[in-house]
Amino acid sequence: MRIGVIAIQGDVSEHVDALERALVERGEEAEIITIKHKGIVPECDGLILPGGESTTLGKLLIREGIADEVLEMKDAGKPIMGTCAGLILLAKEGDEQVARTHQHLLGLMDTKVNRNAFGRQRDSFETELELPFLDTPYNAVFIRAPGIVDSGKDVTVLAKIDSMIVAAEQGNILVLAFHPELTYDTRVHQYFLDKIF
């Protein structure tokens, strides 16, 4: 198995570390590759789009020619997980902030996103979040986090804060507005790995 982590910008090494810990826990092996250029995504069995600045990530995904490869990956039915900026990039539609910066969205999920749904950095927060695939709450870290304001019928909502959707699934794609890679709790990464193995 080979799992790719888009490494253009953001907290890439944290995702790699979380994957490594999760693999050790389940006693399985996989090659983890960080991806900055085109040609590697098609070789992967699963893909993570990490947190970072979506504006920057979106521009460079196009400039580097990776964007189209991610679309093909979805069509091939391979699991993709997007956290924070990843949730924005995988969406079909953005808010006026997204439009103003000519943000390119990959449009893989039938979702409409709000880029900074919970405000600026001073409003960033941690909270205990209930997720349907976990027995106990998960300490979720939201940093200038986005949210899903609207979703199509094929999208399964996994968690909400007030009216804002903060975790969702559509087919082989999983998106989270928070950062499971910033804590030592590997249960979200395990859930993603379950889809690959």
């Binding site: 253009i8 947190g51 600045e53 920057t56 000519h102 950095q121 909270t127 200038r144």
Partner: protein, 298 residues
Amino acid sequence: MELEKLRHGTELIKRGFAKMQKGGVIMDVTTPEQARIAEEAGAVAVMALQAVPADIRKEGGVARMADPQMVAEIIETVTIPVMAKARIGHFVEAEILQALGADMVDESEVLTPADNKYHIDKTGFTVPFVCGARNLGEALRRINEGAAMIRTKGEAGTGDVSEAVKHMKQIHGEVRALKGMTKEEIIAVARTIEAPIELVIETAEMQRIPVVNFAAGGVATPADAALMMRLGADGVFVGSGIFKAENPEKMAKAIVEAVNNYDNPEVLAKISRGIGSGMKGISVDTIPEEQVLQNRGW
């Protein structure tokens, strides 16, 4: 979801914010228009200040935080995070910037220090701080005060990258030297470099400083930015290098691409062509001692 269950301003959130900037370029801007250019080029954040360091150097006088009106306008203009500089020790400037909605405060030696003895106690703030450092002791003292991110001081406003190189190599060299040391040896090092023992032990174990470490101070070209990444920087601040260049749009975009392709000379060669000349700059060894910015802070 009840609001009181949301925890704000924790160490995890502050350091986490800095981690989201990794692999990115943070650009100094003085107007909303410059901020828009930076965002369009692919900057991960902008740093709002009254004048770029090269102009602060030229104009002299007391350099303070940027006009709050300007900071607010920059915040309204871009969707990427907006950072802003406060004077060393000036906790009220920092509070004002936090109240304005700045996403990170740079307690910066580029501005005229407000306190010649103490840095800001950064632990009490909700927003994270970045601080400059020349060596491991200085970096860990700032982290102990609550800094969530470190950058090399370099020598701002010069376009001369040599001091940033020196500071990055100094910090990495000191971290490497901790490897394999016994606890008593590490304690002795902590005393020598005047850093808290726990942070020196953590650094020795992680083999890196415990927060994100960017390069800053003198980065002026795509090659400079790539050099700092090759030396192990987590990302790059570019001050005067963008808007003192012949063509800021091209220079900004080229530096962003250089940071993503820092280990590929073929691509760097392509990126570096046809972007116009970099800022004129001033060689560090010609600056009179009293005008050296990196000696501010301790």
